[in-house]
Amino acid sequence: MIRFIAKRLGSGLVVLLVVSALTFFLLYMSSGSIARNILGDQATAEQVAMKEHELGLDQPLLTRYFAWVADALSGNLGASWFSSEPVANSLATRIPVTMTMVLAAMILIAICAALIGVIAAVKRGWVDRVVQVGAIVGDSVPGFVIGVILVTILAIQLGLFPATSTISPDSGADAWVYSMSLPVIALLINGVTGGAQQIRSAVIKQLERDYVRTLRSRGIGEREILFKHVLRSAAPAGLTVLSLQLIGMLGGVVIIEQIFALPGMGPLAVAATGQSDLPVVMGVVMYTVVVVIVVNLLVDILNGWLNPKVRVS
């Protein structure tokens, strides 16, 4: 198992390095007029040249990339070109907000989707049909639309929640709960419907397998078959779906965070991309890649733990 994890970690690092190089070169090759963007439309040519020198844009691309890697290895991701704030600081204050929201949504999605999916698969009939229809409806309404509807009804009309985030250093845990509730619900609905659908088919597939018939013929109870055998075999499919959802959610939260004005990664990514604040964009990309690698690693480990066959292969 340790070798398995080490191998996965190694390939993760390679991916990280390749992505960082690709992103860096793609971004910085087209960074021609960044100095003028920073200085605004009244700046003179001398001012622009001065700024370019200040930002190190007059140095060769390769030199800058290696300097960036060397700094990044020591935890220094550079500083924003616009605000001079260290990128590592920006990420450190924003990742907790985004990750709290994503993890809260994922845990709820995992619980709800598994329950609904298993019930639909086991009971079939009308329950199954309701789940199927719900999945189509839930999947077809984008999270941000749900978000806007939730704000209008629950925050503005009923005043149950704040319309935009109230998270700040002087606010307590309650502000986090209130501010996160609507965004989490908005993320939840898509996730649960999609997840339940996948888990349902995975369970049904297992229930139709020969080993289930054999177990039944030996007089083993339905409950034991389901919990001891079927769910274990259906778990890899479910985990994969959930991990894909989590990774997809990193994109979805960008819009959700904008609507709810949550100080997470979304607004940072949007602002940095919009004004070509490349050091920050690099930071955001690295964060995303790391999350993807870690999630995949965790899923692989969980799968290996649930299903020994995976470890061997």
């Binding site: 007029s33 200085l39 001079s84």
Partner: protein, 508 residues
Amino acid sequence: MKFGPKAAAAALILSASLALTACGGTAAGGAAAGSTATSLTLGTIQDVRSWDPAQAHVGHILQPYQAVYDTLILREPDGKLSPMLATAWKYNAANTKLTVDLRSDVTFSDGATFDAAAAKANMDHFKKANGPQMAQLSAVKDVAVVDADTIDINLSTPDPALEYFLSQAAGLMGSPKALGTEGIKTEPVGSGPYVMDKAASVKDSQTVFTARKDYWNKDLQKFQKLTFKILTDLTARTNALVSGQVDATILDPKNGKQAEGAKMKLAANEVDWQGLLLLDRDGAKNPALQNVKVRQAINYAFDRKTILDQVMLGQGTPTSQPFGKASGAWTEELENYYSYDPAKAKQLLKEAGYETGVTLEIPSVPGFETQISVVQQQLADVGITLKVGAALTNTFTSDVAAQKYTTMYFSLFQGEPTVAVNQIISTKALYNPFKNATPELDAKIEAVRAGGADAGKLAQEVNKYVVEQAWFAPLFRVNQMYYHNAKVNVTPQIQQAVPSIYNYSPAK
């Protein structure tokens, strides 16, 4: 067991939603910011990049700086310049030296004293800090300390806008002890009415200020607590205002309707103009644009009132001139100089020898797609084809400077006469990339620069020239939709979409 699955499913969905909503009952109370009369919460579009006063900008990006930094000169809501840190100021006869008397009873929040040396240190810093408004002091040769509370600002060329600039970014005074340090980038040190509460502030989320004790001018300090809540998204700003999380914020005409439905008050103000910039007036890339009749024909092609009503819900005023109402360069006669007259447009094209049509190429501009398609339609009606190209990207300023566009649709700020001249008319202006000029126009511009207090009036001649020569095809001045609730009174500030910080007061 028949109801088993149904009950289970229902219970599941219910419990999930209840778990999340149950605790919501008391949330509204905690969420309402600005609920006491002495606190003010403003929804702003973006956070400041650096609190170094030399990095300050104009308009809505100036407002947060005003909370912590006093300016040498105070600009009243109607544009009148009044004493602030400067008690009096006077030009020499040649308009090349401005002597400024300063207050001697002001200290910065770090204890440093405001005096002539501090003022000089700030202006010297501003001149070399490479901030976005560095051009404001480009005419300043040097600053000399005359005595403890007097400075001489020596100019290399007269600049009628200098006094105005001293009420803007260039006039912000930071503590000389903090200038140039790393600390001032994240924590401002000024002499202004408020001081930053760093512990309660989060970059790009909210900035909190508290009233400074013993501030020298209590008339400008109307709240005990001031919070800027950064809400980049328009929907978020609307929701925050309507639900009472912020007391005031800027919206657009469409979202404004929603705010009006919730009984929010509008403090509207015309700040920008929108329309076509006919940049290639010498016909370097598009020969048709060299002909003044073609440019005039373009101007006659637009039914400005209808476009304004349809696209901006009528929020603004149709106009044919690029200079703003408060600039002094604005004249009544130029307002409707080009009335809607498609027949005349066609006639002019014919006279110009372009009976068979003219083709203009413009870039698409994110956020202005509707305007551009309406413009395209109305130009087509008189025989002008508008080819809309790729969208402006964040490299557009360099693209404009590199003469990539012969024509473009844009929204531009209407400032003081020399500011507008430097932005769109002079050969150094970014929005005159083909460097169009005539001796006649140069003379008029020169007169404005040397005009001192008469600059506005003299700029009327520049305005008249560019309107008659159809350098642009302005469509309308646009209303900035600034909304606030009943807890605060707000006075709009001329030439600013967002009022100065002094223009807010608790409603009695």
